[in-house]
Symmetry: C3
Subunit: 314 residues, 3 copies
């Protein structure tokens, strides 16, 4: 998330009650989770194994739970709970604004776009031209929708990321990382009935131009879907997955987080994909493998009784 | 889809800018995709391997991309892009009509039927007697619902078929086949919360008398569900599947398109069904097999380490 | 379900046209399905194999299809169709009351709770403080929601249990067991977009304090979810399942009915769980086994061709 205007690091230190070390002349221009950091950003880290990654990322200002060596030109903000400090900043710069009507006055809707009855359109949403938004669709704040997009009834665009920090004190507890990202839907996309597409934690969840989603498809936060993909019903895609162009996923396929499905790949129905797949091939099973291999494996399994008999006879 | 009144084939030729060959005295009485054609219908074909099937179907008027021998009494309409010509006709005869209110003036609702708040009912919908339609249900145009039907909150009845033509030019592109079919829900059906039942491309999607669907069940276009079926939560059924009477599908089962599940079959939870199944039996696994066979296979797999040891000792 | 005031067993006998035997001085104080019976309750049984269980349960008044020995102090109500008699009583004491507005006058909503536009809130619902209920959420009658709860758009809380009695007469038929239970959502719960949580048949479906559900999670009737559970998208949990505290279920996991998942268990994505699992371990596959075992099994399956070759060479 970009800030509307730069904010001095000294203000940030005071607001989060953190100890400021390093470059105290900096101004923050954005606030982003590690996956999306850019120069000028505030980010946070609270696990030693990620210190290096975060300190040497593009982030300029790092909320951290220990005094460490500071990379040249950067600032660190030392606080016992960097996660909570980060969430406090997100809530400050991106507060939840209750709606007072079904279609926000700050929404911009293009010409020839049809909004059917009972569509909720949040603050600062933009929708392009020649779209059809069917009844009971919910479009959360700041969503961006292109031209010639069709969204079927009951779809939910831009709900919060499913992202919690696990705390183990006297008992387990999950603290919510507030989402301040967006959903961006490009031109010629069609979204099926009751799909859910979550907003990014701090970046964008993107559905690329010309992609078509059947009913009840779930897309997690910050997933990036390429152009002209085809997802059949009940597909689920976890957060921060990258699906390249022209990928076809058949019904009920599940895609795990933090991976890449290569261009032109096809994944057959009900398959589960725990890690990246190369493009241009067809996959099947759980964990998904090349379909030819997996089919031969199914044949081999059928031969076990034969094998047993041969061994026993011997 | 039946046309409201017959249309001369010469008008159709002119409207689609196609070359008319054969019987130019014909009138079209319907427009249907190949799965649903009847005498008097316009249909289309654009792949040589399907020419014969389409030309010798019941269709009277065929949009086709090549001059071919014309079956006696029929007409062909030659055009370089039969798909687009067909879609142009569908849009003409079955245009999308934006709604101006939550319940269309052309909807017919039977006596003692309870419509809870915030239900969307489209044009020319009919709903029988003694039904309960819960909040936030969406019923698209021309849906037909019988008597004593219960539809739970958030269900979407009659969204468009997920049916696209893949074009490969400079890049992949998907062109939408506009849906002009319907959903027909017979008496005593119960539809769970957030189910999605798509309308037919040109025919009907049917939920047979007395069938019960749990929450989040997806039914694809032109699927025909028999009487007294029981589908547990999160089941998905692809387009043009035929599920005969008394079929039970447990949770998260996936059924592929263009197949038949025989009467009284039962499919256990999470199974995937890629091809037709005979009735009267219980199935399990992916690909689904008779449950007894599949269970024995699971036992055989557990014996591989034993087998290995025996072979190694030898 | 508790009755608002006690009802004499003689009235119940007359209303259901059943033959009253045993203690005719009793008053009924509740009406509950066998899973939830307490002293003072009416319950029903219509299968001989369950007679003992029901007669010796805490229920005081039993609708039954045969004259049997009556446990001391209890009453039986003999009728040829105890199920229908029970349903008749449920409909009498817990009738469906059509809504006349989006938010019932009998709903109680705590301070600082934000109700976004187009939320349906049924009769006698209570919602605590500091909650956010997003657009197009449906909350059926009598639901109880704690403090600091977030419910995302399109979620459906309290739809009817998926519970039918199969009748085989000339043809199969399913008779609905009317639901008169509730959903109880404790403090600090977050419910994702388009989740569905069914009410209990006669008891409560409970989501424990601090639990977080991603989008499109389905929870069946009378399931009891512990504290601080984490369920990823498209998880499905059948009725009467008990999920203890701190359980993590990854995406598209399916949990069968009538079982217990122990505290701190984790079930990996797409797994299917047909029976109870001990706490503190990680599970995987269908049927789900300990993940380490299952992973080794996958390796063994890959060795079948080797094994075959060894045996053939011999």
């Amino acid at each position: 998330m970009k800030l509307n205007s730069p904010v001095s690091v000294t203000w940030v230190a005071e607001y989060t009650q953190a100890k400021l070390l390093g470059n105290d002349a900096l101004s923050a221009t954005g606030i982003n989770e590690i996956h999306n950091v850019q120069a000028g950003d505030i980010s946070f880290v609270d696990a030693e194994k990620y210190y290096d990654r975060c300190l040497h990322s593009k982030a300029s200002i790092i909320l951290i739970d220990k005094e460490v060596n500071i990379p040249e030109g950067k600032a660190i903000l030392v606080t016992p709970d960097p996660f909570s400090a980060y969430v406090k900043l997100v809530k400050h710069f991106c507060p939840f604004a209750p709606a007072d009507k079904m279609i926000s006055d700050t929404a911009v809707i293009g010409k020839n776009t049809i909004i059917q009855p009972n569509v909720f359109i949040g603050n600062e949403v933009t929708i392009g031209e020649n779209c059809i938004i069917h009844p009971h669709v919910t479009i959360y704040d700041r969503t961006v929708i292109g031209n010639n997009v069709i969204i079927h009834a009951g779809a939910v665009i831009g709900a919060d990321a499913f992202y919690f920090k696990k705390r183990i004190e006297r008992e387990v507890r999950y603290d919510k990382l507030e989402s301040c990202g967006r959903v961006v839907i490009e031109d010629w996309v069609e979204i099926g009935a009751s799909c859910t597409i979550d907003k990014g934690v701090s970046g964008d969840t993107i559905i690329g131009k010309g992609s078509k989603l059947d009913n009840m498809v779930h897309i997690g936060h910050e997933a990036v879907i390429g152009k002209n993909c085809l997802f059949a019903a009940q597909v689920g895609i976890a957060g921060v997955a990258i699906i390249e162009d022209n990928v076809t996923l058949w019904g009920q396929v599940g895609i795990s987080k933090d991976l890449v499905i290569g261009k032109d790949a096809m994944v057959l129905a009900q398959s589960g994909v725990p890690s990246s797949l190369k493009g241009g091939k067809t996959y099947f099973g759980y964990p998904a493998e090349e379909a030819g291999l997996k089919r031969r494996e199914l044949v081999w399994v059928k031969r076990i009784p034969d094998l047993w008999e041969k061994v026993m006879k011997h």
